[in-house]
């Protein structure tokens, strides 16, 4: 008898899952909303990034609706989880477009998924905002994709500029073996070459490694006087500890992925003096207010400082375009939406120091200008704003 019951188990599980109401259902459905699909990774490898992203998006939707929505119509976010997997992401975007009738897509949470799913919106000729991926190929050949964020080349150049200003001459590149890391390493190489600097070592590590001694030793052996990092928080923390343990107390400069909430507690003292470059400026009162709202609404501070801001700006930019073209009822004309977004030349959002102005055009879908970077440094066990890139000249 138990056998029979057990045999029915899988069937029962499937039936329950299929029939269960979605947790999102039950929220009051607005009349005649303008729906945008948000495809991100809320489970799996990039789960905490995705969660930080969607929080910012939700707050933005709130603000848009408070300010009158889209010409009186409510803006509605339809959320899809792709678990950080490119194949799933493609299907999710398809579903959003085909089944749920969204007017635009925001997503994915990292380069791997965005590179895959942008093909779908491109084929469907639908506008997509990408709130995270930094690799330069992202918008090439993709006329319907708009990048909300920075290109890693810009961040790399900022880092190199700082490095030169601080007087270091023999950098070692340390990057993770993911798409994010590889693209970053490539940008670092270019930025260094442009300044005529030769890096003394280039090392890679797998994300989540248990030991980074070989990579650090290779840099030490090559005589590097600074480490340039393009790594996830946990790995950066381990690298910081390892270099200290080996008596090789070189400075570490890197991308703001190093500022992930889990990194500092792991690295402890080893992180003292580490510098990160970011496009988020936490000295701005409106940014601080957004973080406070985030924590209040979702129970915890976001895992990274940039993710909520990127999604916030993505929604606001999209809303701006939608306001220009959305009819009182019915579907949005995608070509007109695209043109409206391309016509934005004066958007000032949450990203970058105050006054950073976005500029899109028919030929430029990477609207964030270069130079919107801010440096942070760990001082007395806390991340402190160090200076904006713009102020580098006055150092």
């Amino acid at each position: 008898m138990w056998r029979r019951l057990g045999a029915l188990g899988p069937g029962i599980l499937l039936a329950v899952m299929w029939a269960a109401p979605s947790p999102a259902a039950g929220a009051a459905a607005a009349k005649n909303p303008v729906k945008i699909g948000y495809v991100g990774g809320f489970t799996g490898v990039v789960a905490d990034l995705g969660t930080a992203h969607i929080g910012g998006a939700k707050l933005a939707v709130e603000d848009v609706n408070k300010a009158g929505g889209i010409n009186g119509r409510a803006l509605e976010l339809v959320i899809y989880d792709d678990a950080g997997d490119p194949t799933t992401s493609v299907t999710r975007v398809q579903r959003a477009i085909t089944l749920d009738g969204v007017e635009a897509i925001i997503g994915g949470t990292h380069a791997a998924t965005t590179m895959a799913n942008r093909v779908v919106t491109n084929q469907a000729k639908m506008v997509q905002m990408s709130p995270q991926a930094q690799n330069r190929e992202l918008t090439q050949g993709m006329p319907w994709l708009f990048r909300v964020g920075t290109m890693d080349l810009h961040n790399a150049r900022a880092l190199v500029a700082l490095m030169i200003k601080l007087g270091y001459k023999k950098p070692a590149i340390q990057a993770s073996t993911s798409a994010f890391g590889e693209s970053g390493a490539r940008s670092l190489r270019e930025a260094l070459e442009a300044k005529g600097i030769k890096w003394v070592a280039e090392e890679k590590h797998k994300e989540g490694s248990a030991d980074l001694t070989p990579q650090v030793l290779a840099a030490k052996k090559a005589g590097a006087d600074v480490l340039l990092l393009w790594a996830q928080g946990v790995d950066a923390a381990l690298m910081a500890k390892t270099r200290r343990q080996l008596g090789y107390e070189v400075p570490m400069l890197g991308l703001d992925s190093m500022m992930h909430a889990s990194a500092l507690p792991i690295a402890g003292e080893a992180y003292e003096g580490v510098i990160a470059v970011s496009i988020a400026d936490t000295s701005r009162p409106d940014v601080r207010e957004l973080f406070a709202r985030f924590e209040k609404a979702f129970g915890a501070a976001p895992a990274t400082i940039y993710s909520p801001l990127l999604s916030y700006d993505a929604v606001q930019l999209l809303a701006r375009g939608l306001r220009q073209v959305a009819p009182p009822e019915g579907k949005v004309d995608q070509a007109r939406l695209k043109a409206a977004l391309e016509g934005i030349t004066d958007y000032q959002g949450m990203i970058g120091p105050k006054g950073t102005t976005w500029r899109f055009s028919a030929t430029n879908h990477d609207g964030l200008p270069e130079g919107a970077s801010v440096f942070y440094r760990v001082q007395s066990g806390k991340w402190v704003r160090y200076m904006a890139l713009a102020d580098l000249g006055q150092m």
């Binding site: 045999a7 499937l14 269960a20 109401p21 489970t43 093909v119 798409a179």
Partner: protein, 334 residues
């Protein structure tokens, strides 16, 4: 009697209906979402049919299927996107490259048994994945291969769908015929007891290698089709995790059975879509179903169904209850 007539109708009518549905599908007003799902279903079916050959029929644990899938996809993708090869040649090359790898490494690998074999195939699959990810000059590294172009004739969804399913049906028939002829029987003999099979004069090594190479070929075909479906591939899709999910799907459906391959593919592709509400728990449910199936329904959905029907028939003929026998993963042959 009546029972037999019903069974015959189902046996003939079932596949005919299925084929009719497949053929008519694009005419139902093809929306991209549904065609994407059906396309993926066809591709996953190819993967699981291949896995079935080596694991289900021949009984050799292979956890390398995702690696072969990736090798096929990358071969086809790189040849088209970087060297401009025409679509048919690129896909054929995608079939050839994992087949070659399987042919070369198959002999030493298949000499191993049980968990040694499991680890060897894990190692093989992982090495392929690492090579795809690290050899950037060749593969583009983790950023993947973009700009894969279908020939203009196949740019439309309907034709590509027919291509995928045409090939999937062909593969299905091939596996079915292999299963019925001497090769299939040899595989089952090897699976049940390799030594006894050898004693009966079956060259186990050759048959196992055949299954391995065929499974790699089907995976390579699936890979080529996949690359041109999404027009973009990256190493993420071809890791060890996917190999395990393929095995899980095959077993839940029913290893060593054709119906099982269909059910398993359906589960893999459709489960995430039907259960959107529980995105957080997908892997948990998948694993739980696998555990439950192995515990209570080791023959999988199709295998158990078939066994149930066979038992019922045996029960009709005689009053004797069947003796409990070891529940193998694959059902009785045929």
């Amino acid at each position: 009697m009546a029972g037999r007539r019903v069974r015959r109708t189902v046996r003939v009518g079932g596949p005919v209906l299925a084929l009719l549905f497949l053929a008519a599908f694009p005419l139902l007003g093809l929306k991209p979402y549904f065609s994407q799902l059906m396309d993926m279903l066809g591709i996953v079916l190819l993967l699981i049919l291949g896995l079935n050959l080596i694991f289900g029929y021949a009984g050799q644990i292979s956890i390398a299927q995702a690696g072969f899938f990736g090798l096929g996809a990358y071969t086809a993708a790189l040849l088209q996107a970087k060297l401009g090869w025409p679509f048919p040649l690129a896909v054929l090359a995608g079939v050839a490259s994992p087949s070659l790898l399987a042919a070369v490494l198959g002999t030493p690998i298949l000499r191993l048994k049980g968990y040694y074999l499991a680890l060897a195939t894990i190692g093989l699959g992982t090495m392929v994945y690492e090579a795809l990810e690290q050899w950037q000059d060749l593969t583009g590294g983790p950023i993947g291969v973009m700009g894969i172009q279908r020939p203009p004739a196949l740019d439309g969804e309907a034709l590509y769908y027919y291509l995928i399913w045409g090939l999937a049906v062909l593969a299905f028939l091939m596996v079915r015929n292999l299963d019925r002829c001497a090769v299939g029987r040899a595989w089952v003999a090897i699976r049940e007891n390799e030594r006894a099979a050898a004693a009966m004069g079956i060259d186990a090594a050759r048959y196992k290698l055949l299954a391995f190479v065929l499974s790699a070929a089907l995976a390579g075909l699936a890979g080529g089709l996949y690359a041109f479906l999404n027009r973009y591939i990256s190493p993420d899709s071809f890791g060890l995790n996917y190999s395990m999910i393929l095995i899980a799907s095959m077993i839940i459906g029913g290893a060593g059975t054709l119906g099982g391959a269909l059910i398993g593919s359906g589960l893999l592709v459709l489960l995430p879509e039907l259960t959107q509400a529980f995105a957080d728990y997908h892997l948990l449910v998948f694993g739980a179903i696998l555990v439950l199936v192995l515990r209570f329904l080791p023959r999988g959905a199709w295998g158990s169904l078939r066994r149930h029907v066979a038992d019922h028939r045996a029960g009709e003929a005689t009053a004797a209850s069947p003796t409990p026998e070891p529940q193998a993963l694959a059902g009785t042959p045929r």
